[in-house]
């Protein structure tokens, strides 16, 4: 992955656009790093909370000379939050410190930045247009809300019952994945 520390000067200066670029690059790595907690901690809440805390402390962050220092800090903060959640509920932490250290070392390697694939974007847009109206409406309501509104409010806005809304979101996701697969696109290859 590319070295996300290239955004550090802007982030340290308090530029939200620079932090947004970091978030775009870091999110999937951070989520993968929380996979082992998925059964026992709400990783979505932990991930968002960790990113917000990174923004709060980024101005004081000092690089250690290796790539992706801020991403490694975010990974540690996310893991610590997950561990705190677990301990608060009296649960045992399964992941060892050496496993965490190995994962952090793997992040301290940078390669060339991947440019967004315009062909892939065109394909997924075609798949979105091909969705049936109700799944498409449910998906677009979630996209527009950007995680800022509960599903109950989104369902109300579409005159759907909450369960119907959620079933339509599921249908939309499955249909998009199937459509991409038919076009020869493996979603796993595009983190």
């Amino acid at each position: 992955m590319p070295d996300l520390d290239r955004h550090l000067p802007g982030i340290a200066a308090g530029d939200p656009d620079a932090f947004q670029a970091f978030v775009v690059g870091a999110e999937s790595r951070l989520r993968e790093g929380l996979a082992s907690f998925a059964a026992v901690v709400d990783t979505e809440a932990v991930l968002q909370e960790a990113l917000l805390r990174v923004w709060q402390v980024a101005g004081r962050f000092r690089e250690d000379g290796r790539p992706n220092g801020l991403l490694r800090l975010a990974t540690r903060m996310a893991r610590n939050l997950a561990v705190s959640e677990l301990r608060a509920r009296g649960r045992v932490v399964a992941e060892s410190d050496s496993e965490v250290a190995r994962r952090l070392d793997a992040l301290a390697v940078a390669d060339a930045a991947l440019e967004p694939d315009p062909l892939l974007r065109r394909r997924i847009e075609a798949c979105r247009r091909a969705l049936p109206p109700r799944p498409r409406a449910a998906l677009e309501a979630r996209l527009l809300a950007g995680g800022g509104e509960p599903d109950a409010a989104l369902a109300l806005g579409l005159h759907m019952r909450l369960n119907t809304f959620l079933q339509n979101v599921t249908r939309a996701r499955r249909a998009l994945i199937l459509c991409l697969r038919r076009a020869g696109v493996d979603l796993e290859a595009h983190p």
């Binding site: 947004q20 999110e27 909370e49």
Partner: protein
């Protein structure tokens, strides 16, 4: 609804990016996540992973709904 349908609905709800905020401002777990068993929570994690990838590909700036939720709080200072 059948038990299977109820479970699917809970998984989809927990896979969304919206999260409630505690009075101190900290984000809490989704109520649907708390209603799932461990296998259901793993399914929700996988559904979230797929959804965020699709959302980022559909967004002109490459932001998932998770990224949008975080950036909304960063930009408003809340």
């Amino acid at each position: 609804m059948t038990d299977r349908r109820i479970r699917e609905v809970l998984v989809e709800a927990a896979a969304g990016a919206w999260r409630p905020r505690h009075p101190g401002g900290r984000l809490g777990p989704h109520p649907a996540w708390a209603d799932l068993d461990e296998a259901g929570r793993r399914e929700a994690f996988e559904a979230a992973r797929q959804s965020r990838r699709l959302e980022a590909l559909l967004d002109p700036e490459g932001l998932s709904t998770t990224a949008r939720a975080v950036m909304a709080r960063v930009r408003t200072g809340r």
